[in-house]
């Protein structure tokens, strides 16, 4: 890297910020992908939860914490619905969550207009409970004279937690097994259906956390926020080594994928390159990652007869 600003503490705090909210989602999406599924509704769900927080708090004049609680219930319900439908029908999660993605996109705009007559919910910082919520979701930590957003801390915590769950708990073993071969897993007694539904609900809970962070940090939410992010989460997870076919990957990898994303996103302007090149690099990294992942799979499945 040629820019000294990029390497400075302030630079690091800068590019770790977009990486953090993306990273929280990428870790949850990675768990889901290891379990063999996609969630295209994850991006728009961050918008849905942020809007729910805003509408319940501002339009219904509730304490912000009640609004945040309502948003969590909404998110978990969407996650359960996705997981239940996928396990019930056996249809590809790609198509089912595409359906919920479009439905939520419509609901976000429709309901926001219905309650506010505009496409924005604002004034979240005027609601009781904001100070405490800001401390949890949007405060800044001063480390050695540089301000870091608290989302970075949450991101690191969630990455560590997800890694521990994947590698050191029964549930983690079931996630790998369900994504690796669902029928075989069920045959030895793994509750594959419950595992899948839990994973969808985990992704939804992560979307709730990120949505709440956005709502509290920005204090106003656009009705179209979060749309398009779902593919970025998947890209980060794949760059981090998750197989598209399930059964292999890591939470740390997904976090590194998010970190690379954040560094590229801010690195290109620092280098005074045209920001239009960003997506070109993202696509190239994705292709490289997929090719590398293919080698891993081939190694693991090459039977020596």
């Amino acid at each position: 890297m040629q820019s000294p600003v990029f390497r400075s503490a302030r630079g690091v705090a800068n590019w770790m910020d977009p990486a953090s909210t993306l990273g929280i989602m990428a870790v949850a999406v990675a768990l889901l992908m290891i379990g063999g599924h996609f969630d295209l509704s994850a991006g728009v769900l961050t918008g849905t939860t942020a809007l729910t927080v805003g509408i319940v708090a501002v339009e219904f004049r509730q304490n912000l914490w009640i609004a945040i609680g309502v948003a969590l219930v909404v998110a978990l319900a969407v996650g359960f619905f996705n997981g239940w439908l996928v396990t019930r029908t056996g249809l590809p999660s790609f198509i089912i969550t595409l359906g919920t993605f479009l439905m939520l996109q419509g609901l976000n705009v429709g309901l926001t207009k219905l309650f506010t007559d505009t496409v924005t919910v604002g004034g979240i910082d005027d609601v009781p409970g904001y100070a405490a919520a800001e401390w949890i979701f949007a405060s800044r930590l001063n480390i050695a004279g540089t301000e870091f957003r608290v989302a970075i801390v949450w991101w690191l915590l969630f990455t560590a937690l997800a890694t521990w769950v994947l590698l050191r708990t029964r549930f983690g073993n079931w996630v790998f097994a369900t994504g690796g071969d669902e029928v075989a897993a069920r045959n030895v007694g793994v509750p594959a259906r419950r595992t899948t539904i839990t994973l969808f609900m985990t992704t939804a809970a992560a979307a709730w956390f990120v949505g709440t962070t956005l709502a509290v940090r920005l204090t106003s939410v656009q009705a179209n926020s979060g749309i398009g992010q779902e593919l970025i989460y998947i890209v980060a997870a794949v760059i981090g080594g998750c197989l598209l076919t399930g059964g292999f990957g890591s939470a740390i990898g997904a976090s590194l994928g998010a970190l690379i994303f954040g560094m590229t996103q801010l690195g290109i302007p620092y280098l005074h390159w045209d920001a239009d090149w960003f997506y070109f690099f993202l696509g190239a990294m994705l292709l490289l990652a997929v090719l590398a992942n293919r080698l891993v799979r081939r190694y693991a499945q090459a039977a020596r007869r």
Binding site: T169, A177, G180, R186, N187, G247, Y299, A300, R304, R305
Partner: protein, 269 residues
């Protein structure tokens, strides 16, 4: 011809099927199947494709309930609604290609669905150290030499995979071990290795049900043979009552095979 003479290996009856049948819609997949699985014996189920072997496995393994007849476990009527229930009753099934998850380490596969844990509450965790050690020990006990329990199962050969799956079932206290075509995808040498582990499981007092379409693999290791054809039993034989050639002929549908032999013979001029 139903030589249901008892007392070959001589163990107690673990599992009994009485007149069991199963339909898929209007198709009769299995009908009137009666047989006994005894401790320390190998019961072979032989049949060509479509004979009803997989349906029988699914009934024994708890995937399907039979539509007719009874399944008796230790003389008591039993009905399994899920593979887990059959497993808890001591009936383990090793499926042909679906025995293991290829991308997972051997020790993770070995304890899949029965992971040992330590700690309490939210800190309850998979005891990986113990799992690794026990896996290595259990495999060694069955005489299976695995270089590294951390390697993914996908790097093992087909015979090794079947052997590990058998060792797993035996380790978890299976009293009845159902093997679905364990040798069909294997070469002669590998098949021999797997059959040796089948014999080992038998010697430990496990009642083995070996499902195969290959009488040459079934005959040396089997004590009792149930031959299926199009969902019906062609008879249940003790080893003393049947020869390998008779078994082959029965399986292929007797007369049909004679006809085929006749058709394929060179015309004698």
């Amino acid at each position: 011809m139903t030589g249901a003479s008892s007392g070959v290996g001589g163990g107690s009856a673990l599992l009994e099927l009485r007149d069991v049948g199963k339909d898929y819609g209007t198709v009769v997949a299995l009908d009137g199947i009666t047989t006994t699985v005894r401790a320390g014996e190998v019961t072979c189920v032989l049949g060509d494709n479509g004979a009803g072997k997989s349906t029988l496995i699914k009934i024994l393994g708890g995937v399907h309930r039979p539509d007719r007849g009874e399944v008796l476990l230790d003389g008591e009527p039993a009905s399994f609604g899920a593979p887990r229930e059959a497993l808890d009753a001591g009936i383990a099934t090793v499926y042909q290609d679906l025995a293991m998850i290829p991308l997972m380490a051997i020790w993770r596969n070995f304890f899949l669905g029965a992971e040992p844990t330590r700690g309490w509450g939210p800190f309850r965790r998979f005891d990986a150290g113990r799992a690794r050690k026990v896996t290595r020990g259990a495999l060694a006990e069955m005489g299976i030499d695995i270089r590294d329990p951390d390697q993914p199962v996908g790097t093992l050969s087909g015979g090794e995979r079947q052997s590990v799956a058998i060792a797993r079932a035996v380790h978890f206290g299976a009293r009845v071990l159902i093997l679905d075509e364990p040798t069909s995808a294997l070469g002669v040498k590998q098949a021999g290795v797997v059959l040796r582990y089948v014999a080992q499981a038998r010697d430990r007092g496990v009642g083995v049900v070996l499902i195969t379409h290959n009488p040459h693999h079934a005959y040396p290791v089997g004590d009792r043979f149930l031959v299926l054809n199009r969902g019906r039993s062609l008879g249940s034989f003790a080893k003393a009552d049947v020869s390998r050639d008779e078994l082959t002929r029965l399986m292929a549908g007797g007369a049909e095979l004679d006809q085929l032999t006749h058709e394929l013979e060179r015309p004698t001029s």
